[in-house]
Amino acid sequence: MTEETALALTNLRFTWPGSTGFTLEVDAFTLPKGERTLLLGASGSGKSTLLSLICGISTPSAGSVTVAGTDIARLSRRRRDRFRAENIGIVFQQFNLLPYATALDNALLPLQFAPNRRAKLTDERAEALRLAAALGLDPAQMTSGGAGSLSVGQQQRVAVVRALIGSPELIVADEPTSALDASAQASFVDTLFTHVEAAGASLLMVSHDERLADRFDRTVRLEDIARVKKAAAV
């Protein structure tokens, strides 16, 4: 593993809590720094679990999850929360924002937990508004009213601002386009690429939509890297 690796999974084992007996195993997966990778997987294939492990919200029972040179599986829960805030920007499928808070407050949220990301910025508000403007959101939309009143597409773009602000190493996007219509999907992905590249970050995007594949540096099928077992088969 080199400094040029944004994400590396090695001999990862995870068992769902409780007696369900489901396990997820990934022997090896790497995401080189600066690369944009599409992870294709049908729903129920363990995508969400894998993302929770990569983001350090769940902990593996064995193996390592190395993000930007740090094995987050070895960190305490508190340090993992802090690490996630500093190094990973996350865009969900939908309902990304706190609906009652302004879009701007939503975008600034990760900086509250990430002093290093905050330190990179001279003016957090100005940076958030600059990114928002680059993504086609005007300042009035960012600052007036609750974020819940924005359209789904606008909310997804605010989520991108939130993920990119302060330039984290890794952007993880979980089906960010599935709530958008076809024409909006293409422009959203283009915008995302442009800004991830400008920020010098790496992108891991999870989707079930193969049509997006040709836009990415690399496409990986989840079933090729991960084995999902159901104990019921025993």
């Binding site: 969400s48 929770s52 983001c55 919200i57 929360d81 609906p99 509250q112 937990f113």
Partner: protein
């Protein structure tokens, strides 16, 4: 601070349920503090009924009973005090003044008190306030009467109106042959004086001068004939005593209680009031208990509201977790929310209480004689309010703990 803003906006987004919860807590706080205020006001007004009098003397019975019939006009004396005994007491060393009280007759449901004109100077209430006349003057004729404010308000008398006194309490025998004349009307005091018809001792003597035992003797006398007789009283019901020096009160009390000629009882009004209040205290504690229960109920309602909201806020928690918030912060935010709602409820409650007091104070005083001074919250009330807010925060621990585990187990996969 962004989290304070977020917490506030989160509450504002749920304004209907939140404000109803705040209102419930506010009303429970109003009830609790209101009970406290009225209880203290009633207690103070009760204690304020008589002031400046050092001892009350009557025939030997219970001290509470003596206080009730002599000051509050409740119940009756078991026995009288002879005029000779009263004169002996008045001559005892250390006695500054002594005022005889003769009770037992009534006028249309109001007690008639026979006393001397000195009563109007000596009777004090509410920390030394004296009786004032709204019209007329104290009696100077045998058949003059002075009316309390409530008597005038309900029966509509004017100066110089005639008044017929009835024999005994709730009686059908009237002293119609010897009517009194309204000579003065007293201002409202908030004490039993308001419900009293006050006449001279000689007047009481005059209307009974031709009575033998419990009935009118044959060949009754006219009012004018009665005037010519010796109207010096033979017995009284009780007496108010003032001492020259407070240090002498207990010596004097013992001397009266040991009086050889007649079994007498002397009580300190304040002590007898304390005894009386101890009797009422049980109901008082029950009332306090009920109002504390209401506060607890309102807090439980708040916890139920927060619990009910948790499920729809799972998404909110997942978002906060994804940007790096630990489960501890989510727990803290929920506890803070509970404390904030409880504090808002307490603040609104205090505001409602004082607005209500300002609006009702005059009416309460006029109608029930309960004077509630417009003072701030007492130490005890402050402590209770702080305890309610702390209890709210503590109660918030339950949903916060649930949120903690939800945010750990949900991770990023919340299905909406």
């Amino acid at each position: 601070m962004i989290f304070a803003r977020l917490a506030f906006r989160s509450l504002a987004a749920r304004w209907l349920t939140v404000s109803l919860t705040i209102l419930a807590i506010a009303l429970s706080v109003v009830l609790f503090l209101g009970v406290e205020k009225i209880r203290n006001g009633a207690k103070a007004s009760f204690a304020d009924t008589i002031s400046g009098t050092d001892l009350i003397v009557g025939a030997r019975s219970g001290s509470v009973q003596l206080l009730l019939y002599s000051v509050f006009r409740i119940g009756n004396a078991t026995n009288n005090v002879t005029w000779e005994s009263f004169e002996d007491i008045r001559e005892m060393p250390g006695v500054a003044w002594a005022i005889p009280l003769s009770l037992g007759d009534s006028h249309r449901g109001y007690r008639v008190l026979g006393t001397t004109a000195e009563y109007f100077d000596r009777y004090k209430f509410r920390a030394g306030k004296g009786l004032e006349f709204t019209s007329g003057v104290a009696f100077d004729d045998v058949f003059d009467a002075v009316l309390g404010a409530d008597v005038v308000a309900s029966l509509g008398y004017k100066l110089d109106d005639p008044i017929i006194v009835s024999h005994g309490i709730a009686s059908f025998t009237h002293h119609e042959d010897k009517p009194f004349r309204v000579a003065g009307i007293l201002a409202k005091t908030g004490t039993p004086v308001d419900r009293t018809v006050i006449v001279s001792l000689e007047g009481i003597e005059a209307i009974h001068v031709d009575w033998v035992g419990g009935g009118r003797a044959a060949g009754s006398l006219t009012a004018e004939q009665a005037r010519t007789l010796d109207l010096s009283p033979k017995a009284i019901t009780a007496a108010m005593i003032g001492v020259e020096s407070k240090l002498r009160i207990f010596t004097l009390q013992r001397a009266i209680n040991d009086y050889a000629e007649e079994p007498l009882l002397a009580v300190l009004p304040g002590v007898a009031l304390q005894e009386l209040w101890a009797v009422v205290g049980v109901a008082e504690t029950a009332l306090l208990g009920v109002s504390l229960m209401v506060v607890a109920t309102a807090l439980i309602g708040m916890v139920a509201m927060i619990f009910a909201g948790l499920n729809e806020r799972r998404r909110e928690m997942a978002i906060l977790r994804s940007v790096g918030a630990g489960p501890g912060l989510i727990m803290t935010m929920l506890i803070a929310e509970a404390a904030l709602i409880a504090a808002a409820g307490a603040a609104v409650g205090v505001a409602i209480l004082y607005a209500g007091l300002a609006a009702l104070q005059t009416w309460l005083d006029a109608t029930y004689g309960i004077y509630i001074p417009p003072t701030g919250l007492g130490e005890r009330e402050m402590i209770t309010l702080a305890a309610a807010v702390a209890a709210g925060a503590l109660a918030g621990l339950a949903p916060a703990a649930r949120a903690y585990f939800i945010s750990l187990s949900d991770g990023m996969s919340v299905k909406m």
